[in-house]
């Protein structure tokens, strides 16, 4: 099945330089069961300081549960999660003051006005920068005296983000922050995120389904499949690792023979698409051994790379084309 794509350099670095900086997030065999299912299965994740880390995966892969464990909302059944040097569900208030969280759907007290929401949150934090909130509110011209339930989803998302940044956190955790937002509003939100990223030293962890947004913003990605972290690498490295080889065959194959590194395959008549992880000489010989009449080697954008990697084999397409139906 899918091979793990792990950035060897990063893991070597993280373990070798432990005496220097403690990574803001480290999990060790983090596991959580819901009923009989292992929703998060032995997760070993290390997120370096200053990185913008996107946690990806299909629905039910365990991203949300992982994030909840990082925030101390959910107790792990096995293993540990260490955030800013402390156990995730026993973080001291001083540590928690350095973490900001924006959850799915941007939960806020919707009957409050923007000003009211600021006034409510401010006393809870030892450090609060009014000017940081002002910046976002002025830039997007958000109506300060209007109640949150009367704002659009996009505006509420901006308020959530503004409130999250006001406490000048070292770590920002965003659980699917752009869900339900339309294209334009998502772009606005990304703009705000870029502003945050430009101020160095912050670590951002976010989960998302919009891969083109992830490609813009994230320098590291982690892909979870069935509760396991299958990919943990810089964005570029993952993209680079996948290649799609499109071959024309003289006749359709019932199923391509096994090959290590073959992430997925898809056949449509005489045309066979193979997706390889770390395409190399062995894979080239494999392709040649199929005796193709033509072959094309293509790079993939992040979305296609993600889809091919997580979907697995589609096998033969359900028949549109008569030729396939005959077979």
């Amino acid at each position: 099945m899918a091979e793990s794509v792990v950035d060897q350099d990063a893991t070597r670095q993280a373990s070798g330089h432990q005496r220097e900086v403690v990574p803001p997030i480290v999990t060790d065999r983090l596991t959580k069961y819901y009923g009989g299912t292992r929703v998060v299965n032995g997760l070993n994740l290390t997120i370096k300081e200053g990185s913008v880390y996107a946690l990806l995966g299909r629905n039910g892969a365990g991203k949300s549960t992982t994030i909840k464990m990082l925030m101390g909302l959910v107790h792990p059944d096995f293993g540990s999660a260490t955030v800013l040097g402390e156990a995730a569900h026993q973080m001291s208030p001083e540590t928690r003051a350095q973490i900001s969280w924006v959850g799915e759907g941007h939960p806020l007290y919707k009957w409050m006005t923007i000003d009211g929401a600021i006034r409510f949150a401010k006393p809870f934090y030892p450090v609060w920068h009014d000017d940081l909130v002002e910046q976002v509110i002025d830039h997007f011209k958000l109506p300060r005296k209007r109640r949150l339930y009367r704002l659009s989803n996009g505006q509420r998302a901006q308020v959530s983000l503004a409130l999250a940044v006001a406490s000048d956190p070292k770590l920002l955790i965003l659980d699917d922050p752009t869900i339900g937002l339309d294209t334009v509003v998502r772009r606005d939100f990304l703009e705000s995120m870029i502003q945050i990223i430009q101020q160095k030293g912050r670590t951002i962890v976010f989960s998302s389904h919009i891969l083109s947004d992830v490609d813009r913003v994230a320098d590291h990605i982690g892909i979870m499949l069935d509760g396991v972290l299958r990919v943990d690498a810089p964005t570029e490295r993952f993209r680079d690792a996948l290649r799609k080889v499109v071959v024309e065959l003289s006749g359709p194959l019932p199923k391509p023979p096994e090959c290590p590194g073959l992430a997925s395959w898809h056949q449509n008549g005489n045309r066979l698409e193979l997706v390889f992880v770390d395409f190399g000489e062995t894979h080239q010989s494999y392709v040649d051994s199929l005796l193709p009449s033509s072959q094309d080697i293509l790079e993939l954008n992040l979305e296609d790379a993600f889809v091919e990697y997580t979907r697995g084999s589609r096998g033969v397409m359900p028949a549109f084309a008569k030729e396939v139906a005959r077979v």
Binding site: L73, R96, Y109, Y125
Partner: protein
């Protein structure tokens, strides 16, 4: 922090509080009219009983409503997770919410007693003595209302997933409460029982929040 939370919780609590005040006032006014229309040989007794019942019912319903609302409104808006993300975490949020409950209890006590005193004053048939007779059950009620409040809170608490921890406090509270109300020498025993029970309930609330998942 406390002010911010109090301001927010007041909005949740204000509705039921006003409703309870209105209900109590209505019941008191009704009792006064009844007493005037049918002055019994011991006119005060009717007023006494109705006042006591009204007071009891209004106090208990208010306590249960507030405790449940404080939990449920967070859940309905999904804001438990938001509040949890504040530096103080769930511990601080819980403490503040319970403190707001306590403030509401004080406010209710003063307002409710004042209403009853007013009712007594309006009922011309009553003498000085009834004050003593009324205060007794009213204070008993007020003393055991905290138990109802904490019981309700535990029942509605988000992480309490089992039916045992949801129903048990509510059911367990009722016999204890009757016990307190009808004890002789209640003014010594009742506060102690209340404090002990409340402490236990608060302990269970915090234990559940500590060990269960908030998701």
């Amino acid at each position: 922090m406390f002010n911010a939370m109090l301001r927010k919780e007041s909005i949740v609590v204000a509705g039921p509080l006003l409703a309870a005040v209105a209900a109590l006032s209505a019941m008191v006014i009704d009792a006064v009219y009844e007493s005037r229309r049918h002055p019994a040989p011991q006119g005060d007794w009717m007023l006494d009983e109705s006042l006591v019942y009204s007071f009891l019912i209004a106090s208990v319903l208010l306590a249960m409503t507030i405790s449940v609302l404080q939990c449920v409104t967070e859940e309905a808006q999904g804001t438990w997770r938001y509040a949890h993300s504040f530096p103080g975490g769930w511990r601080q949020i819980l403490k503040l919410k319970l403190a707001c409950g306590a403030v509401t209890w004080v406010v209710w006590s003063s307002v409710a007693i004042s209403i009853c005193l007013l009712g007594i004053g309006l009922d011309r048939g009553s003498e000085g003595e009834p004050l003593g007779k009324l205060f007794d059950p009213m204070l008993r009620t007020l003393v055991c209302v905290p138990i109802v409040y904490f019981g309700g809170y535990l029942t509605a608490l988000r992480p309490a997933r089992w039916y045992a921890t949801r129903l048990l406090p509510l059911l367990g509270v009722i016999p204890c409460w009757f016990l307190v109300l009808y004890l002789p020498n209640w003014w010594i025993v009742a506060p102690l029982v209340t404090v002990a029970f409340s402490a236990m309930l608060i302990g269970v609330i915090f234990h559940i929040a500590e060990t269960r998942d908030f998701a």
